[in-house]
């Protein structure tokens, strides 16, 4: 029993240590992502409304079909990175998205449950992919890796 508890303690401490070690290098963006649930990855099909191309965080606004809404759509907000970081990710202010374009978005949701979060990956109708800011991409990779581990 003692051995079991020790193992549990050791395991918990190890997990905490790993979490802390993993967090430190990712904490290079200018805020801590406290409002984002980094442990879940969701997906929506959306219609582009507007890209706010601003520092320190650009925002992508999209409409997602929702019959419960009077308009038939729910407005979602997705945070991405700064202008420099999104440029490195291959985004441009004018050409990455177009209002009315259909896309599929993978994202780390808001802890509050509001519609939106941190964009990890956007797939365009032609199959091309636009990645999100690097912390979101890394968090998403970890979620996928954890899900694959559970599935095995």
């Amino acid at each position: 029993m003692t051995t079991t508890i020790s193992r549990i303690k050791f395991s918990a401490i190890s997990c905490l240590a790993i979490v802390l070690l993993l967090q430190v290098p990712l904490a290079s963006a200018h805020h801590s992502y406290a409002v984002i649930d980094n442990s879940r990855l969701l997906e929506v099909e959306a219609t582009i409304a507007k890209l706010e191309w601003v520092n320190p965080h650009s925002f992508l606004w999209v409409y997602v079909a929702d019959e419960a809404q009077e308009s038939g759509y729910q407005l979602y907000a997705f945070e991405v990175g700064s202008i420099t970081m999104m440029t490195k990710a291959g985004w441009t202010r004018d050409d990455t998205v177009t209002a009315g374009e259909k896309v599929t978005i993978e994202y780390l949701p808001l802890r509050s449950g509001e519609p939106g979060g941190s964009l990890a990956k956007m797939t365009h109708a032609d199959g091309s992919v636009s990645q999100g800011d690097f912390p979101a991409v890394r968090f998403a990779d970890r979620v996928r890796a954890a899900e694959q581990g559970e599935a095995q």
């Binding site: 979490v19 802390l20 070690l21 967090q23 430190v24 290098p25 990712l26 904490a27 290079s28 200018h30 805020h31 801590s32 992502y33 406290a34 409002v35 984002i36 980094n38 442990s39 219609t47 409304a49 507007k50 706010e52 601003v54 520092n55 320190p56 965080h57 925002f59 606004w61 409409y63 308009s71 038939g72 759509y73 407005l75 907000a77 945070e79 700064s82 202008i83 420099t84 970081m85 440029t87 490195k88 209002a99 009315g100 808001l110 802890r111 509050s112 509001e114 519609p115 939106g116 979060g117 690097f134």
Partner: protein
């Protein structure tokens, strides 16, 4: 009796006086230049253009080094562990709006490209965050106990093609390793930075740094940052200020996610 100021004698006297004055100024200027620390412009190494950290935004020797939290003083290590728990909301939004400062870490290049501008007797380091460091290379000694400034007080000396830069006078309340982030430790007092900057054979710009920060670090740390050129780079501001930041509440300073739609948001598509 009228005086003729433009007589040949007066004009000649004036010309001679101006010549003597000009010669004197030239002599004085030359006297403060130390030939051992300056070189004609064409002999300087080519550090032109924009530079990025070679192995990406999370790269650089410093990031790897800091994965070992034992480099920090115990109370600093505890702080980092506490603020690293996912979901911790630390706030501090106004901190994001101070001018960008040098903190003894890298000069940028992760999220923001860097310029190393060599001019006679001067290296200016600046980046897309707006950091500005002025490094004097005219042989003068490092000023003692300077008042803190955003870029610090620096002097440089050449050792062959390597520039040795010594920096003090940094603001003690600057965060580290990112200089504009409330949930990071402060560098503290009596910070001293020694950098060796040079091109390697692969045309990479190497910055070997020794950072002494006794209130933050257990002992001085040494790390290298490898920069690669970014040909054709287009400068873009990387402004970290929280003004207009949907991620920071400007009133409370707490992190948030502002869902207020833009005023010019297009209407939803027809059903």
């Amino acid at each position: 009796m009228s005086i003729n100021y433009f007589s040949r004698k007066n004009v000649l006297t004036l010309v001679i006086a101006l010549l003597i004055s000009a010669c004197g100024q030239t002599t004085d200027t030359t006297a403060v230049v130390d030939d051992s620390t300056t070189a004609p412009m064409q002999e300087y190494p080519d550090w032109g253009g924009w530079w990025l950290i070679a192995d990406g935004p999370l790269g650089g020797g410093l990031r790897g080094l800091l994965r070992n939290l034992n480099v920090y003083q115990p109370e600093v290590k505890s702080f980092i562990e506490r603020v690293s728990v996912p979901g911790t909301n630390l706030g501090g939004g106004a901190v994001f709006c101070v001018p960008v400062r040098f903190n003894g870490g890298t000069n940028g290049g992760g999220t923001d490209a860097v310029e190393f501008l060599l001019t006679p007797q001067r290296l200016t380091i600046t980046n897309e965050d707006g950091m500005l460091r002025r490094i004097i290379i005219d042989g003068r000694p490092l000023r003692e106990n300077p008042e803190p400034s955003n870029g610090g007080t620096s002097i440089g000396t050449w050792e062959g093609d390597t520039l040795i830069v010594e920096t003090i006078g940094l603001h003690p309340d600057t965060t580290f390793p990112s200089s504009s982030r409330p949930n990071s430790p402060l560098i503290g007092e009596n910070v001293h930075v020694l950098e060796r900057i040079y091109l390697n054979e692969q045309d990479q710009l190497i910055v070997d740094t020794e950072l002494t920060a006794p209130q933050m670090l257990v002992a001085p740390i040494n790390f290298s940052t490898v920069y690669r050129r970014d040909p054709g780079h287009i400068i873009r501001d990387h402004d970290r200020c929280s003004l207009n930041d949907r991620s920071i509440d400007p009133v409370t300073g707490l992190e948030r996610f502002d869902m207020t739609p833009p005023a010019d948001l297009p209407p939803p598509p027809p059903r």
